[in-house]
């Protein structure tokens, strides 16, 4: 019964693109060469294409061209069973960040990350989802944030930041140009970003606000593969943005939030938005090019930049973070394979919200660590996703490394030219 629901969902979710992926795969195994979970576990099961097996079987049995003819001849795969789904659960949820790196080496160009999402849709239909994710989904739906942040908490944290930087932030301001949404991790752990935005936007003369009805950018529905939840969460942002009549919604320093809002959102709510979605890095880069952000001095440390998968490879923002970082850093060095081929931090695609996956996640970081170690001594790691940041900090602890992790927006704000109200910029370190 459970399995039948999954099979039905699998069959429903296959469109021409998904079908062509399953038809085209030549079982060459190249994809394994790109996956950090495969690389760090020495387990053939973790080959990316193998993670799709339940979906492939259901498709071949029920939907593929000639499946009718084959069924008559007994040449279709057996029906997917519940045991099988349970057996695949760690492949589908614990060891895939939906980072899309495997697509880079696939001779057939198969988008495995998108396919893993489809497999997850079947698992959601069957109710076989790790508890960490369902818990986060409950909190997102009922409280408004996967980490359980209530509007009062948001108000309190914003007020603290207002006092800190001495710049007022007007919540729920109708007619502002930009609506800022935040990721739960930023509100709880990296709240300085709110002060940083206030200072940058003040200098650049940007009119902005934060909504107390939709302040959460992350979308657990996208990660777990639940379209209903994903739609509800995107819908909240769309409603708030339309109610406040903003022209733009700023997707924050968070990888999957950008994918959720920019690329998937309109398809989930079933219509184009009345506003534009812009990623904070895109906006900062644009403001810098227009001369509206003026910085003074540069950070002298040797730093490198971690590309969040959903922003770079699956988001298309490659040059923007680099030009922002170069404007405030003298010592920026690139990791090998930086940019579109970068390795995931190990926490994407809901893996970081899934305690069951912790061992896998920490082990997978070894691939990232190697990229960092190859640089032979960097003094800080800059990134632009609060989730990556948190995951990397935890992993750095686990590996006993000594490396501060910085958010790009905050780094930029540190070097703003002083102009009343804001703190004076720190002079460059020698």
């Amino acid at each position: 019964m459970t399995a039948a629901k999954a099979v039905q969902a699998f069959v429903d979710t296959v469109d021409a693109a998904a079908a062509s992926y399953m038809e085209a795969c030549v079982h060459c195994g190249q994809c394994a060469r790109a996956c950090h979970f495969y690389e760090t576990n020495d387990d053939p099961r973790l080959t990316p294409i193998y993670k799709l097996q339940p979906l492939v079987k259901a498709y071949k049995r029920h939907k593929a061209p000639f499946s009718g003819l084959r069924r008559m001849l007994g040449l279709v795969p057996a029906e997917v069973t519940e045991d099988e789904l349970n057996e695949w659960s760690d492949l589908v949820y614990d060891t895939c960040n939906m980072c899309g790196r495997c697509t880079l080496v696939c001779p057939m160009g198969i988008d495995i990350a998108a396919m893993v999402r489809k497999v997850r849709e079947g698992f959601v239909a069957a109710g076989i989802v790790p508890e960490g994710l369902t818990g986060a989904a409950d909190r997102a739906i009922n409280i408004g944030s996967p980490l359980g942040i209530k509007p009062e908490t948001l108000r309190k944290i914003v007020n603290e930041q207002v006092e800190e930087v001495g710049i007022p932030v007007e919540l729920d301001k109708e007619g502002a140009d930009y609506l800022v949404i935040l990721s739960a991790m930023e509100i709880l752990n990296f709240y300085e970003v709110i002060g940083a935005l206030a200072r940058i936007f003040k200098q650049a003369g940007v009119s902005w606000t934060i909504s107390t009805e939709a302040y959460e950018a992350t979308n657990i529905g996208i990660q777990m593969g639940d379209k209903e939840i994903a739609r509800t969460l995107v819908g909240r942002i769309v409603d708030a943005a339309e109610k406040l009549k903003v022209k733009y919604v700023i997707s924050p320093e968070c990888g999957h939030a950008y994918s959720a809002l920019k690329w998937e959102g309109p398809n989930l709510v079933g219509r184009p938005y009345s506003f534009k979605v812009v990623h904070i890095l895109e906006l900062l880069d644009q403001l810098q090019r227009e001369g509206r952000i003026r910085t003074r001095g540069k950070d002298a440390r040797r730093v490198t930049y971690h590309d969040p998968c959903q922003i770079v490879r699956r988001g298309g923002l490659v040059s923007q973070p680099r030009s922002i970082l170069n404007s405030v850093s003298d010592g920026f060095v690139e990791m090998k394979n930086a940019g579109v081929a970068n390795i995931c931090c190990g926490g994407g695609g809901g893996v970081s919200s899934n305690p069951r996956a912790e061992d896998y996640r920490i082990r997978a970081f070894a691939s990232k660590k190697k990229q960092i170690d190859d640089l032979q001594g960097v003094e800080a790691l800059v990134t632009s996703c609060a989730n990556c940041r948190n995951v990397i900090e935890e992993a750095i602890d686990a590996y006993g490394m000594d490396l501060p992790v910085l958010g790009l927006t905050e780094l930029l704000a540190e070097y703003l030219e002083p102009d009343g109200g804001g703190e004076p910029a720190k002079p460059a370190e020698a």
């Binding site: 062509s20 053939p44 080496v105 988008d111 920019k262 490879r313 298309g316």
Partner: protein
């Protein structure tokens, strides 16, 4: 009718028909599933992304060169060798001209025929050994992978036997294996020779809209 006559007559037409109709059916069957229009606002155009992806995935991303070079080498050795034999070997050019296309082109010299046939054999054998030797490859392989490889291998082998172009039954044997291969093709993974356009294309559309074609 002798067996040789059947192989060179009706069976050929049947095999060719199954191949053409089956392949078309399968491709249409995939396209027929359709795709919802994407309502998100693209950063750049989808079509150039699709074209770029079509070429881009001919080689793995440069950052993976070291990890994949042996496989890529064997893959190209086999495919280029086979392609050259299929379309530039004198007997094949003659056959295509007489029975399929109605026009021909300059065939390659005999030594080049032999060299490319050797390349194709070496590549296919390497790929197949990798498939049975590597635990990861065993994990993801199924019967179809092996049948496809073996049928191709046998068609190539009987092609070599037919090289003397004198013994009618050896020629017919090559013809027969080729016919079996053609009939198997549309129902198998050998279809990758066509479906790669679709899979690369769809991924190219997704990424092209996002402004990256990795």
């Amino acid at each position: 009718m002798t067996i040789v006559q059947i192989i060179e007559g009706p069976l050929w037409y049947i095999a060719a028909a199954v191949f053409v109709i089956g392949a078309l059916w399968r491709i249409i069957g995939i396209l027929r599933l359709g795709r919802r229009t994407d309502l998100s606002v693209p950063r750049s155009a989808a079509f150039p992304g699709a074209v770029k992806a079509l070429f881009r995935h001919m080689l793995p991303h440069y950052g993976f060169f070291n990890r994949t070079k042996l496989h890529v080498f064997a893959g190209y050795l086999f495919h280029i060798g086979l392609f050259v034999v299929l379309f530039f070997a004198a007997p094949h050019v003659a056959f295509l001209k007489e029975h399929v296309l109605g026009f021909g082109w300059e065939a390659m010299p005999h030594w080049a025929f032999i060299v490319s046939a050797q390349a194709a054999f070496a590549g296919l054998i390497l790929l197949w050994f990798r498939r049975i030797a590597d635990p990861t490859m065993r994990q993801i392989s199924d019967a179809d992978d092996h049948i496809g490889s073996w049928l191709t291998f046998i068609a190539m082998l009987t092609g070599c036997l037919a090289l003397q172009e004198s013994n009618a039954s050896l020629r017919a044997l090559h013809m027969l294996t080729v016919e079996i291969w053609l009939i198997y093709f549309p129902f198998s993974r050998l279809m990758h020779a066509f479906t790669f356009v679709l899979s690369r294309g769809y991924t190219g559309i997704v990424y092209g809209r996002r402004g990256v074609t990795p």
